[in-house]
Protein backbone atom coordinates (compact mmCIF):
# COMPACT_ATOMS: atom_id res chain seq x y z
CA UNK A 1 0.00 0.00 0.00
CA UNK A 2 1.28 3.40 -0.91
CA UNK A 3 0.63 6.62 1.00
CA UNK A 4 -2.18 8.79 -0.35
CA UNK A 5 -0.92 11.80 -2.28
CA UNK A 6 -1.22 15.07 -0.35
CA UNK A 7 -1.76 18.34 -2.23
CA UNK A 8 -2.56 20.50 0.81
CA UNK A 9 0.52 22.59 1.71
CA UNK A 10 -0.73 23.06 5.30
CA UNK A 11 -0.52 19.35 6.19
CA UNK A 12 2.18 18.35 8.68
CA UNK A 13 3.36 15.06 10.18
CA UNK A 14 2.09 13.97 13.59
CA UNK A 15 5.69 14.38 14.73
CA UNK A 16 5.02 18.15 14.59
CA UNK A 17 2.45 17.88 17.40
CA UNK A 18 4.54 15.48 19.49
CA UNK A 19 4.84 18.14 22.22
CA UNK A 20 1.07 18.49 22.65
CA UNK A 21 0.64 14.70 22.51
CA UNK A 22 3.27 14.25 25.18
CA UNK A 23 1.61 16.92 27.33
CA UNK A 24 -1.78 15.20 27.02
CA UNK A 25 -0.61 11.57 27.31
CA UNK A 26 2.34 12.05 29.67
CA UNK A 27 4.67 9.97 27.51
CA UNK A 28 6.19 10.18 24.04
CA UNK A 29 3.80 8.18 21.88
CA UNK A 30 4.84 9.17 18.34
CA UNK A 31 7.05 6.06 18.21
CA UNK A 32 4.13 3.79 19.17
CA UNK A 33 2.70 1.77 16.33
CA UNK A 34 -0.90 2.72 15.62
CA UNK A 35 -3.28 0.49 13.67
CA UNK A 36 -5.86 2.35 11.61
CA UNK A 37 -9.35 1.13 12.54
CA UNK A 38 -10.57 1.90 9.01
CA UNK A 39 -8.02 0.24 6.69
CA UNK A 40 -5.79 -1.71 9.08
CA UNK A 41 -2.55 0.06 8.17
CA UNK A 42 0.08 -0.14 10.91
CA UNK A 43 2.83 2.41 11.26
CA UNK A 44 4.50 4.67 13.79
CA UNK A 45 2.04 7.23 15.11
CA UNK A 46 4.50 9.97 14.12
CA UNK A 47 3.84 9.20 10.46
CA UNK A 48 0.15 10.17 10.62
CA UNK A 49 -0.76 13.29 8.67
CA UNK A 50 -1.60 16.22 10.93
CA UNK A 51 -4.14 18.97 10.26
CA UNK A 52 -3.31 21.65 12.80
CA UNK A 53 -5.04 24.80 11.58
CA UNK A 54 -8.57 24.07 12.77
CA UNK A 55 -10.07 24.45 16.25
CA UNK A 56 -8.81 20.95 17.07
CA UNK A 57 -5.95 18.75 15.92
CA UNK A 58 -6.76 15.93 13.49
CA UNK A 59 -4.41 13.03 12.69
CA UNK A 60 -5.26 11.02 9.60
CA UNK A 61 -4.10 7.68 8.20
CA UNK A 62 -1.39 7.99 5.53
CA UNK A 63 -3.03 5.27 3.43
CA UNK A 64 -6.81 5.81 3.61
CA UNK A 65 -6.89 9.42 4.97
CA UNK A 66 -9.53 8.54 7.57
CA UNK A 67 -9.33 10.15 11.03
CA UNK A 68 -7.27 8.08 13.49
CA UNK A 69 -6.89 10.46 16.46
CA UNK A 70 -8.23 13.93 17.12
CA UNK A 71 -8.41 16.23 20.08
CA UNK A 72 -9.70 19.61 21.16
CA UNK A 73 -8.69 21.89 23.99
CA UNK A 74 -11.35 22.54 26.62
CA UNK A 75 -11.16 24.69 29.76
CA UNK A 76 -11.45 21.48 31.80
CA UNK A 77 -8.68 19.76 29.84
CA UNK A 78 -8.24 18.19 26.43
CA UNK A 79 -10.79 15.80 24.91
CA UNK A 80 -9.14 13.04 22.87
CA UNK A 81 -11.10 10.92 20.40
CA UNK A 82 -9.17 7.77 19.49
CA UNK A 83 -11.94 5.77 17.82
CA UNK A 84 -9.94 5.65 14.61
CA UNK A 85 -7.09 3.73 16.25
CA UNK A 86 -7.75 -0.01 16.54
CA UNK A 87 -4.79 -0.21 18.90
CA UNK A 88 -1.62 1.53 19.99
CA UNK A 89 1.45 -0.60 20.51
CA UNK A 90 4.33 0.79 22.58
CA UNK A 91 7.66 -0.38 21.22
CA UNK A 92 6.07 -2.03 18.20
CA UNK A 93 7.86 -2.16 14.88
CA UNK A 94 6.04 -0.83 11.83
CA UNK A 95 4.45 -3.27 9.39
Amino acid sequence: MRPAVIDDPLVLDANAVAGDLREIMGVEITTYVARCAHCGNRDALGTLRAWTHGPGIVLRCVICSEVVIRWVRHPDGPRVDMRGAAFLQPGGSPR
Binding site: V5, N15, A18, R22, L45
Partner: protein, 264 residues
Protein backbone atom coordinates in the same frame (compact mmCIF):
# COMPACT_ATOMS: atom_id res chain seq x y z
CA UNK B 1 20.89 -14.60 46.21
CA UNK B 2 18.93 -12.57 43.74
CA UNK B 3 18.38 -14.13 40.38
CA UNK B 4 19.94 -12.47 37.35
CA UNK B 5 16.48 -11.81 36.00
CA UNK B 6 15.39 -9.92 39.07
CA UNK B 7 18.54 -7.84 39.02
CA UNK B 8 18.33 -6.80 35.38
CA UNK B 9 14.61 -6.53 34.76
CA UNK B 10 12.83 -4.16 37.10
CA UNK B 11 9.17 -4.95 37.59
CA UNK B 12 6.45 -2.43 36.80
CA UNK B 13 6.73 -0.85 40.24
CA UNK B 14 10.41 -0.10 39.66
CA UNK B 15 10.12 1.03 36.07
CA UNK B 16 11.41 4.58 35.59
CA UNK B 17 8.64 7.16 35.44
CA UNK B 18 8.71 9.37 32.35
CA UNK B 19 9.81 12.87 33.13
CA UNK B 20 7.08 15.40 32.49
CA UNK B 21 7.73 17.80 29.66
CA UNK B 22 7.67 21.22 31.26
CA UNK B 23 7.79 24.71 29.84
CA UNK B 24 10.90 26.48 30.99
CA UNK B 25 12.30 29.96 30.54
CA UNK B 26 15.44 29.97 28.42
CA UNK B 27 17.86 32.83 27.83
CA UNK B 28 18.83 33.79 24.31
CA UNK B 29 22.62 33.74 24.52
CA UNK B 30 23.55 34.02 20.83
CA UNK B 31 21.89 35.11 17.60
CA UNK B 32 23.79 34.31 14.41
CA UNK B 33 22.36 35.20 11.00
CA UNK B 34 22.82 32.33 8.54
CA UNK B 35 21.10 33.88 5.54
CA UNK B 36 18.84 36.90 4.94
CA UNK B 37 15.89 34.93 6.27
CA UNK B 38 17.33 32.33 8.65
CA UNK B 39 19.19 32.81 11.91
CA UNK B 40 20.52 30.47 14.57
CA UNK B 41 19.22 31.24 18.06
CA UNK B 42 21.09 29.68 20.96
CA UNK B 43 19.00 29.20 24.10
CA UNK B 44 20.58 28.45 27.45
CA UNK B 45 18.16 26.33 29.45
CA UNK B 46 17.97 25.84 33.23
CA UNK B 47 16.68 22.26 32.82
CA UNK B 48 18.60 21.19 29.74
CA UNK B 49 18.18 17.60 28.66
CA UNK B 50 20.17 15.69 26.04
CA UNK B 51 18.48 15.59 22.67
CA UNK B 52 18.70 13.31 19.66
CA UNK B 53 19.43 14.60 16.17
CA UNK B 54 16.16 15.48 14.42
CA UNK B 55 14.21 16.50 17.51
CA UNK B 56 12.64 19.91 18.03
CA UNK B 57 11.63 22.36 20.73
CA UNK B 58 8.26 24.00 21.11
CA UNK B 59 8.52 27.74 21.71
CA UNK B 60 5.65 29.93 22.85
CA UNK B 61 5.05 33.64 23.18
CA UNK B 62 2.45 35.14 25.48
CA UNK B 63 0.96 38.57 24.82
CA UNK B 64 -0.02 40.95 27.62
CA UNK B 65 -3.67 39.97 27.17
CA UNK B 66 -2.80 36.29 27.62
CA UNK B 67 -2.98 35.32 23.95
CA UNK B 68 -0.44 32.63 23.17
CA UNK B 69 1.23 31.54 19.95
CA UNK B 70 3.27 28.37 19.80
CA UNK B 71 5.60 26.96 17.14
CA UNK B 72 8.01 24.06 16.79
CA UNK B 73 11.61 24.72 15.75
CA UNK B 74 14.20 22.11 14.86
CA UNK B 75 17.38 21.71 16.85
CA UNK B 76 20.52 22.28 14.78
CA UNK B 77 23.11 21.62 17.47
CA UNK B 78 24.87 18.30 17.88
CA UNK B 79 23.69 16.34 20.93
CA UNK B 80 26.82 16.99 22.98
CA UNK B 81 26.34 20.77 23.32
CA UNK B 82 25.48 20.69 27.04
CA UNK B 83 23.23 23.25 28.68
CA UNK B 84 22.17 24.96 25.50
CA UNK B 85 20.36 24.32 22.30
CA UNK B 86 20.70 25.96 18.88
CA UNK B 87 17.45 26.42 16.98
CA UNK B 88 17.34 27.33 13.30
CA UNK B 89 14.46 29.73 12.65
CA UNK B 90 13.30 31.11 9.32
CA UNK B 91 11.57 34.47 9.29
CA UNK B 92 8.06 33.91 7.93
CA UNK B 93 6.83 37.39 6.89
CA UNK B 94 3.23 36.90 8.07
CA UNK B 95 4.17 34.64 10.98
CA UNK B 96 3.12 35.14 14.59
CA UNK B 97 6.31 33.89 16.22
CA UNK B 98 9.28 33.98 13.85
CA UNK B 99 9.17 37.78 13.16
CA UNK B 100 9.40 38.32 16.93
CA UNK B 101 12.54 36.20 17.04
CA UNK B 102 14.12 38.00 14.10
CA UNK B 103 12.97 41.60 14.65
CA UNK B 104 12.51 41.98 18.42
CA UNK B 105 14.58 39.48 20.41
CA UNK B 106 18.11 40.44 21.42
CA UNK B 107 20.74 38.48 23.28
CA UNK B 108 19.85 38.25 26.96
CA UNK B 109 16.08 38.10 26.35
CA UNK B 110 13.98 35.30 27.81
CA UNK B 111 11.68 32.91 25.93
CA UNK B 112 9.49 29.99 26.98
CA UNK B 113 10.46 26.64 25.49
CA UNK B 114 9.88 22.94 26.07
CA UNK B 115 11.74 19.97 24.69
CA UNK B 116 13.44 18.06 23.30
CA UNK B 117 10.42 16.64 21.51
CA UNK B 118 9.77 13.88 18.98
CA UNK B 119 10.94 10.29 18.80
CA UNK B 120 10.12 9.49 15.21
CA UNK B 121 12.14 11.86 13.00
CA UNK B 122 15.37 10.98 14.80
CA UNK B 123 18.72 9.66 13.66
CA UNK B 124 21.40 8.21 15.89
CA UNK B 125 24.91 7.06 14.97
CA UNK B 126 24.91 3.35 14.23
CA UNK B 127 21.40 3.17 12.78
CA UNK B 128 21.60 0.67 9.94
CA UNK B 129 21.81 1.58 6.28
CA UNK B 130 23.39 4.44 4.33
CA UNK B 131 21.95 7.80 5.25
CA UNK B 132 20.14 9.85 2.60
CA UNK B 133 19.10 13.32 3.75
CA UNK B 134 16.91 15.51 1.57
CA UNK B 135 16.14 19.05 2.66
CA UNK B 136 14.43 22.10 1.23
CA UNK B 137 15.12 25.60 2.61
CA UNK B 138 15.12 25.69 6.40
CA UNK B 139 14.25 21.98 6.30
CA UNK B 140 18.00 21.47 6.37
CA UNK B 141 18.13 22.40 10.08
CA UNK B 142 17.36 18.97 11.63
CA UNK B 143 19.44 17.31 8.90
CA UNK B 144 22.37 19.51 9.96
CA UNK B 145 21.93 18.18 13.50
CA UNK B 146 22.22 14.67 12.06
CA UNK B 147 25.39 15.52 10.11
CA UNK B 148 26.88 17.19 13.18
CA UNK B 149 25.99 14.15 15.32
CA UNK B 150 27.50 11.84 12.71
CA UNK B 151 30.73 13.85 12.71
CA UNK B 152 30.87 14.06 16.53
CA UNK B 153 30.52 10.27 16.75
CA UNK B 154 33.03 9.68 13.92
CA UNK B 155 30.28 7.56 12.37
CA UNK B 156 31.33 6.18 8.97
CA UNK B 157 27.87 5.32 7.66
CA UNK B 158 27.87 6.60 4.07
CA UNK B 159 25.82 9.79 4.01
CA UNK B 160 24.53 12.10 1.32
CA UNK B 161 22.70 15.39 1.69
CA UNK B 162 20.60 16.68 -1.21
CA UNK B 163 19.74 20.28 -0.37
CA UNK B 164 17.40 22.51 -2.36
CA UNK B 165 17.72 26.29 -2.03
CA UNK B 166 16.47 29.19 -4.14
CA UNK B 167 19.86 30.87 -4.59
CA UNK B 168 23.39 30.34 -3.30
CA UNK B 169 22.79 33.14 -0.76
CA UNK B 170 19.88 31.15 0.69
CA UNK B 171 22.08 28.14 1.54
CA UNK B 172 22.06 27.79 5.32
CA UNK B 173 25.30 26.57 7.00
CA UNK B 174 27.04 26.96 3.64
CA UNK B 175 30.63 27.20 4.90
CA UNK B 176 30.14 24.34 7.36
CA UNK B 177 28.58 22.13 4.70
CA UNK B 178 31.44 22.91 2.31
CA UNK B 179 33.94 21.93 5.02
CA UNK B 180 32.04 18.77 6.00
CA UNK B 181 31.84 17.67 2.37
CA UNK B 182 35.60 17.76 1.89
CA UNK B 183 36.55 15.99 5.13
CA UNK B 184 37.73 12.38 4.95
CA UNK B 185 34.66 10.28 5.73
CA UNK B 186 32.48 13.36 5.41
CA UNK B 187 29.06 13.33 3.77
CA UNK B 188 28.52 13.95 0.08
CA UNK B 189 26.78 17.31 -0.20
CA UNK B 190 24.73 17.96 -3.34
CA UNK B 191 23.05 21.31 -3.88
CA UNK B 192 20.30 22.30 -6.23
CA UNK B 193 19.60 26.00 -6.76
CA UNK B 194 16.09 26.45 -8.09
CA UNK B 195 15.78 30.16 -8.81
CA UNK B 196 19.18 31.61 -9.65
CA UNK B 197 22.63 30.11 -10.06
CA UNK B 198 25.99 31.85 -9.73
CA UNK B 199 28.21 32.08 -12.83
CA UNK B 200 29.93 28.77 -13.57
CA UNK B 201 27.49 26.75 -11.43
CA UNK B 202 27.76 23.08 -12.38
CA UNK B 203 25.32 21.64 -9.83
CA UNK B 204 21.61 20.99 -10.22
CA UNK B 205 19.46 23.99 -11.15
CA UNK B 206 15.88 22.82 -10.76
CA UNK B 207 13.37 21.61 -8.23
CA UNK B 208 13.99 18.11 -6.92
CA UNK B 209 12.47 15.56 -9.29
CA UNK B 210 12.60 11.82 -9.78
CA UNK B 211 15.63 11.86 -12.09
CA UNK B 212 17.59 13.96 -9.59
CA UNK B 213 16.61 11.55 -6.81
CA UNK B 214 17.69 8.61 -8.98
CA UNK B 215 21.08 10.26 -9.57
CA UNK B 216 21.79 10.87 -5.87
CA UNK B 217 20.42 7.47 -4.89
CA UNK B 218 22.97 5.89 -7.24
CA UNK B 219 25.76 7.71 -5.44
CA UNK B 220 25.00 5.91 -2.17
CA UNK B 221 24.52 2.47 -3.66
CA UNK B 222 20.99 2.63 -5.06
CA UNK B 223 17.78 1.27 -3.58
CA UNK B 224 19.44 -2.14 -3.04
CA UNK B 225 21.70 -0.54 -0.40
CA UNK B 226 18.48 0.00 1.60
CA UNK B 227 19.19 3.60 2.62
CA UNK B 228 17.45 5.22 5.54
CA UNK B 229 15.96 8.50 4.33
CA UNK B 230 15.07 11.68 6.18
CA UNK B 231 13.17 14.32 4.25
CA UNK B 232 12.43 17.76 5.71
CA UNK B 233 11.11 20.96 4.19
CA UNK B 234 7.95 22.57 2.85
CA UNK B 235 5.06 20.10 2.71
CA UNK B 236 4.82 19.90 -1.09
CA UNK B 237 8.60 19.36 -1.47
CA UNK B 238 8.52 16.57 1.11
CA UNK B 239 5.54 15.05 -0.66
CA UNK B 240 7.30 15.11 -4.05
CA UNK B 241 10.50 13.60 -2.62
CA UNK B 242 8.75 10.84 -0.67
CA UNK B 243 6.61 9.90 -3.67
CA UNK B 244 9.62 10.03 -5.99
CA UNK B 245 11.71 7.77 -3.77
CA UNK B 246 8.83 5.32 -3.40
CA UNK B 247 8.51 5.22 -7.19
CA UNK B 248 12.25 4.44 -7.35
CA UNK B 249 11.69 1.36 -5.22
CA UNK B 250 12.39 2.51 -1.66
CA UNK B 251 9.95 1.09 0.90
CA UNK B 252 7.85 3.82 2.57
CA UNK B 253 8.93 2.45 5.97
CA UNK B 254 12.52 3.59 5.23
CA UNK B 255 11.43 7.16 4.47
CA UNK B 256 10.91 9.46 7.45
CA UNK B 257 9.35 12.82 6.81
CA UNK B 258 9.02 16.14 8.57
CA UNK B 259 6.70 18.57 6.81
CA UNK B 260 7.08 22.26 7.63
CA UNK B 261 3.88 23.48 6.01
CA UNK B 262 3.60 26.02 3.20
CA UNK B 263 6.59 27.81 1.71
CA UNK B 264 6.97 31.39 2.84
Amino acid sequence: MKSATAATEPGPAEAPQPEPLRWQVGTVTAIRPQTDRVSSFTLTLPSWRPHRAGQHYDVRLTAEDGYRAQRSYSIASAPEAHGEVELGIERIPDGEVSPYFHDVLVEGDLVEARGPIGGYFVWEPGINGPLLLVGGGSGVVPLMAMLRARRAAADRTPALLLYSSRTIEDVIYRAELDALGTEPGGPTVVHTLTREQPPGWDGFDRRIDESMLAAVLDRIGGAVADPLVYVCGPTLLVEAVANGLTALGLPPARIRTERFGPTS
